[in-house]
């Protein structure tokens, strides 16, 4: 439906101008009276409530990413300490399908950026196609991880087999859980009727893209850790 395009983006620009707390020029401070500050006697012309700005979503996502990073760093440090202090470590042979999965995930980040570019050019049809491709690639990655799990299980490597296999399943499982949330966000952006929402489509798409790229980079880090720390 390329006809219904522009409104969300215009909305975004307007919202950003109306940005939030404390950033506006502060009224004249101090107590040297006689300053022609805003607000006459009785505060008659105090500002009407402005529509909430979308900046909070960016800040919130930034904080969420930092928190998730701390979560996985805690796991990674547990991995390193456990690896260094035990004799019961049996290295896991990483299934080759993980490489394919990695490529799938990396390319999903690429299609996500292309989709957002289409949205910027107000080409909603192209956006929808590429966005769906991204969602599909994300689901394909999750399927690929499941295949990797099944290959390990059929090779007799279970989560409780030894610390190395435990960490493999915990890392991949928790990452998949977080990525599943990312797929949910992708579906939300694709299916939400943004005419009714407080947040515009391009803001939602941008925030989702931050999360998705972060999940992408996190996976590369985890894979490197699992490979180098065998």
């Amino acid at each position: 439906m390329p006809s219904t395009t522009a409104p969300p983006d215009i909305e975004l620009i307007i919202e950003d101008i109306g940005g939030g707390g404390g950033r506006g020029k502060p009224p004249a401070g101090g107590d040297d009276g006689g300053d022609s500050g805003p607000g006459g006697k009785g505060g008659g012309n105090r500002p009407r409530p402005s529509p909430p700005s979308s900046r909070r979503y960016y800040t919130g996502m930034a904080l969420g990413i930092v928190s998730i990073l701390m979560f996985f760093m805690a796991l990674a440090s547990a991995f390193l300490v456990r690896r260094g202090t035990s004799l019961d470590w049996v290295p896991v042979r990483l299934p080759p399908v993980l490489l394919v999965n990695t490529l799938i995930l990396l390319s999903s980040s690429l299609t996500l950026e292309l989709a957002r570019r289409r949205l910027g050019q107000t080409d909603l049809g192209g956006f929808r196609t590429l966005w769906s491709v991204t969602t599909g690639l994300g689901l394909l990655f999750l399927l690929g991880q499941l295949i990797a799990w099944r290959q390990l299980v059929s090779a007799g490597v279970f989560i409780a087999s030894n610390p190395a296999s435990s960490f493999f399943f915990i890392f991949t499982g928790l990452h998949a859980l977080h990525l599943f949330g990312g797929v949910g966000a992708l579906l939300y952006v694709a299916l939400r009727k943004f005419e009714l929402a407080k947040i515009s489509r391009s803001v939602a798409a941008e925030i989702t893209s931050y999360y998705w790229h972060f999940m992408d980079a996190l996976w590369v880090f985890l894979l490197a850790l699992l490979y180098l720390g065998r």
């Binding site: 009224p27 107590d31 006689g34 300053d35 607000g39 805690a74 547990a78 004799l87 960490f167």
Partner: protein, 562 residues
Amino acid sequence: MDTNDSGATYPKTPQPGFLSRSVFSTNHKTIGLQYLWLALLSVFLGMALSLLMRIHLVWPGAHIPFFSDLGDLPERYAALIVLHGSLMVFMVLTAAPQAGFGNYFLPLQIGAREMAFPTLNLFSFWATATSLLGITAAFFLQQELGVTVWLTSVALFCAASLFTAFNFTVTVLDLRAKGMTLSRLPLTAWAWFLTAILAALIFSILLAACVLLLSDRVLGTHFFAITAAFSAPISSFAAPGVPVTWQRLFWFFAQAEVYVAMLPCFGIATHLLATFARKPVWKERAVVLALCAVGVFGFCIWGQHMFASGMNPYSPLVFALLASSLGLPALVLLFSWLGTLWNAKIQLTTSMLFVLGFISLFMAGGLSGIFLARQDLAAAAVSDDFITGHFHLVMGVAATFAILGALFFWFPKLFGRRLNEPLGKLHFWLTFAGVYAVFMPMHWLGLISHTRVSSVSQLQAVTTLGADLRAFITVASILTIAAQGIFLFNFLASLLRGEKADVQNPWRATTLEWSIASPPPFDDFGPCDPVVYRGAYEFSLPDVAEDFVPQHLAPEQVAKVR
């Protein structure tokens, strides 16, 4: 992150229906009050548990109705400690000053009307409430299942705290009213903000540790429990059988958690001190820097809890240095408090008494912390009782005093009535004497348990002294807890039929929450957004008629001295 978090549109009107208005409300004031009720319930539950422990220590055979019927396995006593600790630390010290008072007063103080993500806030509260239910239920379940339920509840609390932390940080950064620059932010808001950042970092660590431990218990992995056959090699610094990995993760969280509990209390104490001393906060900017420094140092000293469990021989020195440097920001705070009090016309309300009590307890407890921060002293000179006394003074009761001070201060705003002052003062003095009588002897107990004895008579003397001290502590704690009945009576009686707070600003305070009616209307500031014209602590200015200038007063509205 939930991007579909919708606040109500403006202007807000009270939603109909009891459930959506009072129980599952997204209004920050309702949620803040709910947290406070939760903390009140938990603090009395936690006190009852500590009473059980004290009685059990001194009169082990005593029959306690209901509790003794649960059986007398040794694990019961361990369960008491775990339950007491998790209720007090999570549901009281973490929830009350931050999520309780913070949810209610942060948006009011910065003129925000709402938290950044109200729906997420609603989720946080109910996750916390569920977690409280789970932690309590775990006590009554069969042991193996009980530990798993407890652990799941703690993980849930971590998730709830993370979302609360996001909400607080984003609210302070993005939702401040016009004119509310960072330098005009009340110190309470600063403290809530810094606490939220710290909480966002550390609760994910505890969550990760809980996930690994749950996996150990449910999925049969061995992340922490190294089986005897595979215990650590000689070359490793870790003592065999010690779950060092768990200790690292846990203390990384838990040491910083102390500051998650204490930072809001520092903010509240400084704020109340300035209000009741009728003076600006002395060196306000230094206080903000000190609060930041507490957060940063507190984040880096987890290792001081692991002096005894084996680590690289050089690292204790680093941790000891970092832990000792926490004294610097603490000193800055102390000097600011003293500087604010200097030459002040102090109004000794109950609220102010509790703040002064907070300072006294924080200093008394902090002094013993200097011993514990040194790896050599901590390992050699003191035992568990010393540490118990130390952290109960500095973290437990000090923070509780700040919470009580805040409650007496904000009660008129919360409920439109005032707490009874004479009863409050009686409660203060009894509690103040009581907590010193309980926790000071614990330091002594900790010191004498390492006494070197060279004869049987000396050993007997030390043992008798220890037993006497324990009995004294138990009697003192029974009396102190009994004194809390005064508070409970005062709270409930004042809630129902206390003196009406007929003015909206009874303490003549400066911040925005006092510019609106008590209790605040559903939409806080009404149809117009507040505007801030000045800093938060403009007390006793030289050429102004009143001894305080509220933040929302425009320069031309300030009445001058004729």
